[in-house]
Amino acid sequence: MSVDTFAVSKASPVAGQTTRSTLDAVTDTVVRIMCESAGPLRRVSVSYDTDGARVEVDLDPGPAAPHGQPTESPGTAPTGPTGPTADPAGAHQVITSPMVGVVYLAPEPNADTFVAVDSEVQAGQQLCVVEAMKLMNAVRAEQAGTVVDVLVNDGAAVEYGQPLFTIDVA
């Protein structure tokens, strides 16, 4: 199970005497607890208090982060980055590639791109094209918002689930 959908931040300052192995141990601990958990986690806190060293790791999963047993039925939404995922840092949506292929940011060579940073987009508006096996697949915004970041270059080969755009839907 991937933990990519969690934001991991080292909240407190790290004391000078803390060794690298201590940090690794605590980080591993948090990752393991997340893996063991059957349900979504609100917060995991691990304190490690010796020789004055103290490390805290805070976890704050985004509101829509999927976590739990992936479903086996092909019809329903599977685990992992399919379509938009919420960015835990704010009301950001990441638009990911629905398939492996080549992404085109403009409808044809030398034409204007579908969108750019700061573009206002409507729900359903086309953002780019992903070409796979000579078929052109339109990728559209799910919600209205503002393009915050374009994460790929025109003509780039992308994997399934690869982030393409960040959209502020606040």
Partner: protein, 457 residues
């Protein structure tokens, strides 16, 4: 020679293929679903491409995604492993259309082999012994009655598009015949999209013995000996060994010669397996051809010293076989034990979850093929093969002792996870198995006994 091979599979076989590629200096592309993003077989590949979500249809069976991944990584060829797209003639055809090599036979050959009625007819032409039955599809109730007249009872009705133990039904008396026929056609349509069926004599307690062949594009065909795969649960193999115990040298020679004759007759290319049933009178009957690498290929590698994946790749690249039949000497005995994440106490129900502990055996003449490690998860979407243990010894008795020693070294533990390790040690200890007198009913008898003894507790 290929410079880059895309491996369209997952788990141990994806790693197995990648290992040989690396030894040959060929770069590899590992494709994977999101469930396998952190898997060892992906890490080992030189490049990786995520091709879809966990369900196989959306990823490992997704032809367009696999071909697109091959195109954008400039792979010269695709190795399909076993399962998934490995026996899909349409996929082989799409590879050809896309200009990427498919490591396997031609699509035309794959189509013939996939249709069991056609395969039977071609092998009958080549003189291979057939179980009494219908060679072609049974179109009418009259056809069914005529064929049953030739076989007697019990007989078995099989879907021509079937395989892996699915789409089969045993008929014990004439009164059940026509009902079974119509039900099997309906099942076959639902399972395989094609309702062709045929029937043949049903053997009670047969041995499952198969012959490995290798053939190049220059007319050379050799065999690498046989494998006994009679230890099966739910019609799926659990333990395989070579040589097959209890076969006379004469029978072995006739079977290997039949396989080579069959392969030559249809112009087979690449690595292929001819499956036979052997009855208690030591007669053998052709069953089917598998046109891919088999899960159990390592036992053949252990006794011949030949890397079968290497030969597959070299043949697909158009090279002539470097081996002549007289260069191939099978030495000693090898046995493969599949370690499945299944629960033998509940009809080998698959289990999934995180592996808290995972340690594998090592030491003399002990090979383990696995693509997992402690801390990894067994996803619920795929086949439950966790690891393969292969041991070699100068003779079968020593190989069995070695296999049991090696099994004792497995340390597999995870909440909700079961494994077949202990059950296979029970099989190794079974007197019939030790004496080589077992048949395909062995696992069923052992699990029934287990159920009974559980009941008495």
């Amino acid at each position: 020679m290929f410079e880059k091979i895309l491996i369209a599979n997952r788990g141990e076989i994806a790693l197995r293929v990648a290992r040989t590629c690396r030894e040959l200096g060929i770069r590899t592309v590992g494709v994977h679903s999101t469930a396998d993003a952190d898997a060892d077989f992906v890490r080992f590949a030189d490049e990786s491409v995520c091709i879809g979500p966990p369900p196989p249809k959306a990823s490992y069976l997704n032809m367009a995604a696999v071909l697109q991944a091959a195109a954008q990584t400039n792979a010269d060829a695709i190795h399909p492993g076993y399962g998934f797209l490995s026996e899909d003639a349409d996929f082989a055809e799409a590879c050809r259309a896309d200009g990427v090599g498919f490591i396997g036979p031609s699509p035309e050959l794959m189509k013939q082999i996939a249709d069991k009625a056609v395969a039977r007819a071609r092998m009958a032409e080549a003189g291979l012994p057939m179980l009494p039955g219908s060679v072609s599809e049974l179109a009418t109730e009259d056809d069914v009655r005529r064929a049953a007249g030739r076989t007697g009872y019990p007989l078995i009705i099989k879907a021509t598009a079937g395989g892996g133990g699915r789409g089969m039904r045993v008929v014990h008396e004439a009164g059940e015949l026509l009902d079974a026929y119509w039900q099997n056609r309906a099942n076959a349509r639902r399972l395989f999209g094609h309702d062709g069926v045929y029937l043949e004599r049903f053997l009670t307690g047969p041995r499952h013995v198969e012959v490995q062949v290798l053939a190049d594009h220059h007319g050379n065909t050799v065999h690498l000996g046989e494998r006994d795969c009679s230890v099966q649960r739910r019609h799926q193999k659990l333990i395989e060994e070579t040589p097959a115990s209890g076969l006379s040298a004469g029978l072995r020679d006739r079977m290997t010669a039949a396989a080579v004759a069959g392969a030559r007759h249809i112009g087979y290319q690449g690595a292929g397996t001819f499956e036979f049933l052997v009855d208690d009178r030591h007669e053998f009957y052709f069953m089917e051809i598998n046109c891919r690498i088999q899960v159990e290929h390592p036992v053949t590698e252990a006794v011949t010293g030949i890397d079968l994946i290497r030969e597959q790749i070299l043949v697909a690249a158009g090279q002539p076989l470097s081996l002549r039949q007289q260069d191939i000497h099978n030495r000693g005995a090898a046995i493969e034990i599949r370690v499945q994440t299944e629960d033998p106490a509940h009809d080998f129900r698959p289990t999934a979850g995180r592996l808290d502990r995972f340690a594998v055996p090592g030491g003399p003449f002990t090979r383990v093929d696995t693509a997992t490690r402690a801390g990894a998860s067994v996803p619920p979407f795929y086949d439950s093969l966790l690891a393969k243990l292969i041991v070699w010894a100068p003779d079968r008795a020593q190989a069995l002792a070695r296999a049991d020693r090696a099994l004792s070294e497995f340390d597999i533990h995870g909440e909700n996870l079961s494994s077949t390790v202990d059950f296979t040690r029970t099989v190794l200890a079974d007197p019939d198995f030790r004496n080589g007198r077992h048949d395909t009913g062995l696992v069923g008898r052992l699990t029934e006994n287990q159920g009974e003894s559980d009941g008495h507790r």
